[in-house]
């Protein structure tokens, strides 16, 4: 019998003091301060928002081991040496004559593909390439003919008119 009275009294108390849950905010700032509303409770979003590796559960992708470049190997430590040899050394020796890492016919050469190919043909025609590499030689000549027609018929040539 006592539990009946207790439960009855509890109900009366709840009617007298109802539990209030605020559903609306008085100020916008309070709404923002509470943070985003939790929706779809229990749902796990399968998009990884952080981290670098795509597979977190399971075997990781192989990343190469970081090997820093040796900034003081001989090539890098003495880079640029002798570039000013015509100023600080013999005035007749131009830096283009010391560009030993570049093929001899390319030292001091700048141009578009057509100009480079013309120079290549002029220099290689004296050697063994036309006889020993006929396909390559033929391809070179074909490319030069194609570029000649393309640059003269399909692109503007000469100085601008205005």
């Amino acid at each position: 019998m006592s539990w009946c009275v207790k439960s009855l009294s509890l109900i009366c108390q709840q009617i007298k003091n109802p539990q209030l849950t605020c559903v609306r905010n008085r100020y916008h700032a309070e709404k923002i301060a509470k943070g985003p509303l939790l929706r779809r409770y229990g749902y796990r979003d399968r998009i990884l928002q952080s981290g670098t590796l795509p597979h977190v559960d399971g075997p990781r992708l192989p990343m190469p081991v970081y090997r820093p470049k040796n900034a003081w190997c001989e090539k890098r430590a003495l880079f640029g040496q002798n570039d000013y040899i015509d100023i600080l050394g013999n005035g007749d020796l131009h830096p283009t004559r010391i560009m030993y890492n570049v093929q001899s016919w390319l030292r001091g050469v700048k141009g578009n593909e057509y100009q480079i190919l013309l120079r290549k043909r002029k220099i290689f025609s004296k050697g063994i390439v036309p006889i020993a590499r006929p396909t390559k030689w033929r391809d070179l000549n074909k490319r030069i003919s194609y570029l000649y027609r393309f640059l003269n018929e399909k692109t503007k040539t000469g100085m601008p008119s205005n």
């Binding site: 640029g80 600080l88 050394g89 013999n90 830096p95 283009t96 700048k110 391809d139 490319r143």
Partner: protein, 301 residues
């Protein structure tokens, strides 16, 4: 410093009559160059305080309205620094305005002008095969094609790919390079990164000696030692061989990139003389129009 200089001249004139030519050279202001333009002698000083020879250096043609730069002459014989003298440096070479933009241009040029790209792709004409029309124009329900090596096809040629060799060569104007060197030397001197040494002789060929020396004198971690000619004393070559960040270079190999890469620049007296002689000549040469011409290929530079 002016007071000391005046006293020095006074004492020199009383000793040798050859010095009478010096004031004449200064007054005339002529830009005459001969191999004996500067005198670096270690003669005994007149003062009764010391008997060790003091290294001196007078400029043959100092400019009238610019302050002369100066640097201590140190030794490499001992780990501790010993100052052997104070020398004059020409302000046009070591006291010029530091032009950061010119230095940047020089560094860019040094990085790029030797670069050649060798990557290459074949066009549809060069790829093996692809001469025949794969199927008739009409009738089959397939798309129309002329060759199996067109850029649309798998395994076909590349239409606008890299075509080797591609060069990035260009030459900076001559005096841009000269001023790059001058700016860099001036900056090194102004920032206390330039040291003058009497010679590159060291007592041992132990790398540890050089490391202790650099550590003791607070020279930067990387040091560039410059001598006049490319044959260096044996001990220093052996000692710096194993240390990768301490390098030896002759005067003709000096360049802006190396000067910026190495923290400290150490010049010998002979190197200072040679650098100054060369750069002052380039600044004042009568045939400058010949060197400022555009670079033409196959004309011996």
């Amino acid at each position: 410093m002016a007071v000391v200089n005046r006293i020095y001249l006074f004492s020199r004139i009383s000793i040798t009559p050859k010095i009478l030519l010096d004031p004449i050279n200064r007054v005339c202001g002529g830009r005459r160059f001969d191999s004996t333009s500067v005198s670096s002698d270690g003669e005994v000083s007149n003062s009764s305080l010391s008997t060790t020879p003091i290294i001196r250096r007078t400029l043959a043609c100092p400019p009238e309205y610019k302050r002369v730069q100066q640097a201590w002459v140190e030794n490499l014989n001992t780990v501790e620094e010993q100052k052997l003298g104070l020398i004059d440096l020409h302000p046009d070479v070591f006291g010029a305005q530091p032009r950061i933009d010119i230095i940047h241009e020089n560094v860019e040029w040094q990085t790029k002008y030797r670069k050649v790209r060798y990557d290459h792709t074949k066009t549809r004409a060069e790829v093996r095969g692809g001469g025949r029309k794969p199927w008739p124009q009409k009738g089959t329900g397939k798309a129309r094609h002329g060759s199996i090596r067109s850029p649309l096809w798998r395994g076909g040629g590349i239409a606008h790919g890299p075509r080797s060799p591609q060069t990035y060569f260009y030459m900076l104007p001559f005096y841009t390079r000269v001023h790059g060197l001058i700016s860099c030397l001036s900056i090194k001197l102004a920032q206390d990164d330039l040291h003058v040494v009497n010679s590159l002789e060291i007592p041992t060929d132990d790398p540890k000696y050089i490391e202790d020396l650099v550590e003791n004198r607070n020279w930067g971690p990387s040091v560039l030692l410059v001598d006049e000619i490319d044959i260096m004393p044996r001990n220093i070559t052996a000692a710096t061989d194993s240390i990768l960040h301490i390098n030896l270079m002759p005067v003709y190999g000096l360049n802006v990139f190396s000067m910026l890469k190495h923290d400290t620049l150490v010049l010998t007296m002979a190197a200072v003389n040679r650098i100054e002689e060369k750069l002052l000549y380039q600044l004042n040469r009568p045939d400058f129009m010949d060197v400022t011409k555009k670079f033409m290929l196959n004309q011996n530079g």
